[in-house]
Symmetry: C2
DNA sequence: TTGTAAGCGTTATCAA
DNA sequence: TTGATAACGCTTACAA
């Protein structure tokens, strides 16, 4: 019933190896037989058996995707499905399939990886990590198995990774605020210890510098964490130094706190930009402008980098940086900016 | 470097076929050799090569998942990721892997299916359809390839499918409202032509009947579609017949319209239940109580049904019905019910 | 209870 | 430019 390579060979009057060569576009094969074989394949609706091919080549054309241990409602965040979509689309366009696993804990995660690797289902692994994925990374690095991490690992080592461009995200957002008329923007970040916070602050400062605005330390604040409450406190601290005409934050939750503090201080119409483009930002009032980290691009980048790597093609880079997109909503509407801004 | 079945055989001093038999728990094998082989496998960290196994058995232990053509922001809806999670967890627990594809259009969808089937990557296919998936279903049915549809197909034919329990969802919701003190609940549905609407109305009526409440036709309304605007109109029609003390709807968007109409009629505190547990319902004010269709259970059910089918185990059923869950939020808070309800 | 040997459908090496 | 033939690693009659 199912048609194999020998069926095609018989039909075309050649040997199986010739058919195989035609399939792989082997240059040293006469155009004539090429055509004959192609016709036969067409006629018989021949599709190569991927398992046999994989066995013979010892490579599958599959990538394994490990999703994080999310007991809670982590998946409420569209990040994951969008990242999966990016991964899927990129992989498809390059002839790869994706196998995925949802883990419940780190133990399981490693188990899935082991299974993928040792039963030889996949040629490489994509780690879609919500946290530091130590055990998985360690396991993969131990075995020298190709993998890529979405999100820059604290200790990258030899790992491939893809992350968004934190510096430019905030640089661009700040620039936009200045374009709109802001002359005294503030920065409300998370803990200064995190490199993402510092990267983003650098983006903020760079924008001020280039646009010739004063870089006032009083207008820069950090929180102890990324929570709404800390966002409020940070904003209050900033307000005690003066009232900014726009605020850039490093997380939507911080932004929610900032909005609240501004409201309480009677400055409820100051422009605010969040980060991560959460759902709440979409639905609350006022709707929150936010930097979208472009999860689809992140996923596509990861898949592409990994495929380049396992194929041994492309530049030998070990990471990619993905552009972000500022999603504009009510909190950066033009009417939130001082009228002096109008040209 | 990589250890094969013959390595294990050599180590255990038996033949490869014996090892294979031990792996598959063949009954007619001495306990002694079984132990010896198991030890050897352990010691060598042996894991069978899935490709070779699949080739020999002509079955892979993989299922293909086809996601709908969603150019837009369909994936904003947590339904998909949750369904994927259910599918993944169920498949994993039964030793199956999932391969997925995102399609951009029906053409592509069929292409992926063809690829999965003919290159023999998968043993069965799960269709996670947002619409009537005619071409895919037709293609699969034509070839007699095992597949399951999430969501009841209009014309199921011989297809396997999994759907949620529309009758009980509304039956239970109505019962809850009555428990809370409602004595005159209303029903605001979508088009009566849809079987889901009728199933849900039956659930509503059954609850009234069993609880001895009057089934007043004036308290039942249908809309021309599932939109917010139609929800408002439907509610206005109901209000012209009298004021209910609670409203069950068949969609969150209808519920949003209902809430608006109630508000306009000065009955803004009447309890309301939506359906499908959309994100907007979570974040708007008041937060909307809604029937969650339990996408994870739907996914798990689909995977389970398909696996049973391809394995030829389990009862020979062609569908499964999955329970829903009522997510309670502000629109069914106790204070929305008449105090006479207190016992 | 265990071993031998013939597939499963490709690819790759070596001759021709 | 093409064809045998031996892997690839496992399963499964068929024998023993």
């Amino acid at each position: 019933m199912r048609v194999t390579i020998s069926d095609v060979a018989r039909e075309a009057g050649v040997s199986a190896s010739t058919v195989s060569r035609v399939i792989h576009d082997n240059p040293r094969i006469s155009t004539e037989t090429k055509v004959r074989v192609r016709d036969a394949m067409e006629q018989l609706h021949y599709v190569p058996n991927a398992l046999a091919r994989g066995l013979a080549r010892s490579s599958t054309g599959n990538l394994g995707l490990i999703l994080p241990n999310s007991s809670d409602n982590l998946f409420m965040n569209p990040f994951f499905i969008e990242a999966m979509r990016g991964i899927g689309v990129e992989a498809q366009s390059r002839g790869y399939n994706i196998m995925f696993s949802f883990s419940n804990n780190e133990e399981e995660e490693v188990g899935f990886i082991r299974n993928y690797i040792h039963s030889r289902w996949v040629d490489g692994i994509i780690l879609l990590a919500s946290r530091e994925n130590d055990r998985c990374m360690a396991y993969l690095q131990d075995r020298g198995f190709p993998f890529v991490v979405v999100g820059r690992p604290e200790d990258a080592g030899s790992a491939l990774w893809v992350d968004n461009d934190n510096f430019h995200a905030v640089y661009n957002a700040t620039n936009l605020l200045i374009d709109r008329g802001s002359r005294c923007p503030a920065f409300a970040g998370g803990p200064e210890a995190f490199s993402v916070t510092r990267d983003r602050l650098n983006g903020f400062r760079q924008a001020l510098r280039i646009r010739g605005l004063r870089d006032d330390d009083g207008m820069v604040g950090f929180g102890a964490d990324f929570s709404e409450a800390e966002g409020s406190r940070t904003m209050e601290r900033i307000l005690s130094a003066g009232t900014p005409d726009a605020v850039v934050t490093t997380d939507d939750h911080i932004a929610f706190g900032v909005l609240e503090a501004l409201e309480n201080a009677g400055a409820g119409t100051v422009a605010v930009v969040g980060f991560n483009n959460t759902l709440r930002g979409r639905y609350q009032r006022p709707t929150l402008s936010s930097v979208d980290v472009n999860p689809a691009a992140l996923g596509a980048g990861a898949a592409g980098l990994l495929i380049d790597h396992v194929r041994g093609v492309g530049e030998p880079v070990d990471h990619r940086i993905v552009d972000t997109v500022l999603i504009e909503r009510e909190t950066t509407a033009p009417e939130r900016f001082p009228p002096s801004a109008e040209r």
